[in-house]
Symmetry: C2
Subunit: 224 residues, 2 copies
DNA sequence: GCGATGCTTCGACCGCGGTCGAAGCATCGC
DNA sequence: GCGATGCTTCGACCGCGGTCGAAGCATCGC
């Protein structure tokens, strides 16, 4: 017997197939209603509702009531990071696919993680942002430099300093096992990519597919 | 219903209290026998044995048979990283401790993660290794530079290139939410710290406690 | 070879937690 | 105000999986 954080409780919340499907759906970043999540998980509304209240109790979800609609979303980028880590182990352990399908390849290159970009493109971007000193590794955090602040402002990327959420954060990437950029800046950059139509979200998947022109634009702005 | 990696299966393996205790014990980095793990988890030997075979089937553990002793250990640093991520969420979500005890503080500063050092000290060390170009962020990996190779060799830190395990890897740190160094180099550095008696493992905990002199030595070598 | 040690397998028990239909509650539009 | 919509709560059912004692199996020392 041991003391400490109740990791079995958290893991068992993710350890039910219906709840895992719900959390996976929420990794897309969009908050969803109980009905949508029930459909996603393949269970009835009462069952979904019971699962959702458990996830809420466990602190994995947040709830935004808008009239009679109740939108459930992941509680934090930390929760998203944990789910990515579990996905990573499941991928590594799971039955080796005979050939990794095109969607898998797309997922490895670029995908949505909660509300920011993940995958090889995202990891490369974070590296370049450090190289160009737009972001600084500092002590135990990632900090936006003053040149970085004006740089992103010039690009039309507005950084909203939200309460309790850092502007920059590292998030571990399961496909390449390196970090990509999370935090409000990470989210704002993904917004920019979608708004500029450089890439589109693939339906019913977390994959982010760049158009040829969009890829060039992204590389010019973030990887040059 | 969705396709994809079976994250519920992996999470449910961690989601049982007995198994969570076992995995937590194995985060100390030492491989343990079934009897030791049964004690750790507070269950009988048959029960422990059943849990261990489930964890083996799920790919979370490796087994090294030595005569009639069978030593179980975590399957990979990736599995260790996932468990750290779950611990991180459990810490964040769990009941706020009235005052974080001294052991918690020690854990935040320096602790063992599987077989390498984690915590603020470890994160600071990785930063400095990048600053000094002993390690290089490259493409999608961390690489040892040639100056790094000779540097560690001078320090008496031998890097064993094991099959299927990278020399350098980033591992997400729950206490500061940044990366520290894993991989065979990360493991070798921890070995050095313990061998030089700069720090000792606290009994029945993952905390690593530096002596005053040891801390100075560590900072001179790795943080200067 | 034979008892000792360390672990796994077998079998039986049991209770936690997932499941859904029916009923209840809250907010909506008009 | 009243029906419609969206969700939660209630209650009853059920089966999966955790549990351990007893028995079995493998390797040890000598």
């Amino acid at each position: 017997m041991r003391e400490g954080p109740d990791i079995a409780r958290i893991a068992s919340l993710v350890g039910d197939p219906a709840r895992a499907n719900m959390l996976n759906a929420l990794m897309g970043g969009t908050a969803l209603t109980a009905s949508e999540l029930a459909l996603e998980a393949g269970v009835s509304l009462p069952t979904a509702s019971s699962h959702l209240s458990k996830l809420m109790d466990g602190g994995l979800l947040t709830l935004a009531s808008q009239g009679r609609h109740r939108y459930y979303g992941l509680a934090s980028a930390q929760v998203a990071g944990m789910i990515e880590a579990i996905i990573g182990v499941a991928e590594a352990v799971g039955p080796k696919r005979v050939r990794p399908g095109p969607r898998d390849a797309a997922m490895r290159v670029a995908r949505v993680c909660y509300d920011h970009l993940a995958g090889e493109q995202a990891v490369a971007m974070l590296d370049r942002l450090f190289d160009k000193k737009l972001l600084l590794r500092e002590d135990s955090e990632i900090r936006l430099s003053s040149s970085g602040a004006s740089h992103f402002s010039t690009l039309g990327i507005e950084i909203h300093a939200k309460a309790r959420r850092p502007v920059c954060r590292a998030c571990l990437d399961w496909s390449v096992r390196r970090s990509h950029l999370a935090g409000t800046l990470g989210a704002a950059i993904l917004d920019k990519i979608i708004a500029e139509k450089w890439a589109r979200r693939e339906k019913d998947s977390r994959a982010v597919v760049f158009s040829p022109k969009g890829r060039q634009a992204f590389e010019r702005v973030f990887l040059a």
